[in-house]
Subunit: 392 residues, 2 copies
């Protein structure tokens, strides 16, 4: 049984932050998790943009990245900044809300309204904290499918996302091929590499090293491991940018000073930038949620779910795929994306692959990158014709 | 005035750890630091291996890396592990102690006996902590030169080092060209890049975020920011290895378990490895020292000291150079090493350059890497002939 309600405050983490427009689906039917336990009830907070057409054939599910959320194309309720894919999504834009019905749900384990460690466990009336079950990319997608069922959409026109969002795209295509007309995994991988796991572990240890983490029970103590979470973000943020982009943006430029100060202030612009990234992230994100979501990525290994053969994940798929990578992305490099393409080819899938030349690094999928956008537009338009979609 | 004494305990950080064999030079004549202040008295702790020949022409100064120390070729007094360049230095080895007189000094700002933030400020009788002046690579080399003067060595046969050690090599060649017969900068750079600074800043913030850091005054409090320092080390350690090496060594292998545990333990070998690296580093290194030494690297910009033209740093040099980089080193990649070589070429210097093909990453300079060793041997043997050196 599922009921849709307008968003209501429900968390100890930041009740006032949850007092924002948006939708929240509460599902009472248990969700069987990969960890071997069931979750019920659970909530999926989501945003939609545009209108579902009469055929229900124009829905695009956007899957957000690690620290993203459902605010794709309207101002973020905490930061007030434009939606994270505002550059792509909206009226007349590439993900045209006059043509498509866009859906984006906060992932399970997240901290923007979907069930996660910062939410209240209905059974105890207390925050879940570390008693929240450890979830996987598969669990995130399973929960999203309930939402798509609830919205009465049989086949998604497209599932699209970058980074961890791309992992969800691959999982959707593997788990529910008949529900996905087209799929766009961007700057992603079918499994987390040793280096990927290593960086995530650094972030988790930074959080856990913060005395305010309180073994995960910080909400009850009225504190938050803000500094540890900021350090985690700083380390991760470096991996989102290429060495070239850091050099181009900052080089060795000094921060509002004529000379180095022989101290530990942020003498260099790059230090100031990283500190800002860390601090602002800590203001909008929950530390335990960061632990859970990074863990879900680390556990992701789509081939392992299919006897060690990635091609088996896509056997007999009819989904049209467009895989996109970026030359300077060293977090999920082209080689990882290409492994997915090789598997799709081995499964005789309909797949196009473009490696976009850019110096912007992993974050290119969020930025104004003309070749990426042109590639995406060509693919989307072609699929729309096949799907018989016209402007609504 | 300078006096050499056998090593004596002198620090609040870990007095018992300083009760070890070795030499310590105490200099009373002030050292003019780049920060614009003078340091006096100061101590340089060092080790030697082999014998200085009658001509005093067979001395090799080995410059250690960020978290290295003077224990090049004998067991480390804290960890008991072999010296960090045991593979290269010793009787009959490439840096043959039957032929050469090897010297390695703990850098200024270090925590193995040279003056640094964990040592006692003689003026106050208290640990320096953050009142220790911020030092530079230039200051480290200036202090080393006092040691070389003290040892009565006019010309060093060779100055050699990798990583931050390579920066010192370049600084030696630029500051005291007439004192350096040959120079081997390995896996290094003439300036710290934005990405280099960024990783160091993450490490510093991890230390400063630890409640036990106590604004730098932890020694007086009887605590140490061990967890923050461990996180700093974990982040840095990833940069010492290539993605390929991490994949080859660990991949997604699990740590003594058959399946993932759906928790935050070290399920993966790479997590366990990083945790071990962080914890063991915290046992042997001082956190404030880490702040100072990383800062010295960040400040390093040899061209900036010479009107922005790196070639000017080596004008009219007669030193023979051998520059070595590693293909999979992304911390100080070949491109950075090549900039040094270009500058040396522009200065009409005698320089050879070899990029060694390896998947071992930055740490290759510490490992059994035959092509690196063969390159080094060829260069050293050639220089020895030119210098008229025979086995002592």
């Amino acid at each position: 049984m599922a009921g849709m309600s307008v968003f209501a405050p429900s968390t100890a983490f930041s009740a006032q932050e949850h007092d924002r427009p948006g939708f929240r689906l509460t599902v009472t039917e248990p969700l069987a998790l990969d960890a071997g336990v069931s979750l019920a009830p659970y909530a999926i907070a989501y945003q939609t943009y545009g209108r579902l057409n009469a055929d229900r054939s124009n829905a695009i599910l956007i899957c957000h990245a690690l620290t993203g959320d459902q605010y794709v194309a309207d101002p973020h309720p905490i930061t007030g900044k434009p939606g994270w894919w505002d550059i792509l999504a909206g009226p007349g834009k590439l993900l045209d809300t006059e043509r498509y019905f866009l859906i984006c749900a906060n992932v399970l384990g997240g901290c923007m309204g979907s069930s996660g460690p910062a939410e209240i466990n209905p059974a105890t009336g207390l925050p879940w904290d570390l008693t929240f079950p450890v979830i996987t990319i598969g669990d995130m997608v399973r929960a999203q499918k309930r939402l798509i069922d609830h919205l009465g959409i049989e086949t998604l026109f497209c599932v699209i996302g970058g980074s961890m969002g791309g992992m969800q795209v691959l999982q959707w295509a593997a788990s529910y091929p008949e529900r996905v007309f087209s799929a766009v995994p961007i700057a992603t991988a079918a499994r987390h590499s040793a280096q990927n796991i290593a960086f995530h572990e650094v972030g988790r240890q930074a959080i856990m090293a913060d005395a305010n983490w309180c073994n995960g029970n910080y909400l009850a103590q009225g504190v938050r491991p803000e500094r540890g979470l900021a350090v985690a973000r700083m380390a991760a943020h470096i991996t989102y940018l290429s060495e070239q982009a850091l050099h181009r943006k900052f080089g060795r430029n000094l921060q509002n000073r004529q000379a180095i100060t022989f101290g530990f202030d942020a003498d260099f612009q790059v230090e100031n930038y990283l500190r800002y990234q860390g601090a602002s992230f800590s203001e909008r994100f929950d530390a335990n949620s960061y632990l859970y979501i990074t863990r879900a990525c680390d556990y992701f290994d789509l081939a392992a779910e299919h006897g060690g053969v990635l091609a088996n994940a896509f056997k007999a798929t009819k989904t049209r795929f467009c895989s996109i990578s970026f030359t300077s992305d060293w977090l999920y490099p082209t080689s990882e994306n290409r492994q997915v393409v090789h598997a799709l080819n081995a499964a005789a899938a309909n797949v196009s692959f473009v490696e976009v030349a850019t110096d912007k690094g992993h974050d290119a999928f969020l930025l104004d990158e003309p070749e990426f956008h042109a590639t995406l537009k060509g693919f989307m338009d072609g699929c729309a014709v096949h799907r018989g979609l016209t402007r609504t």
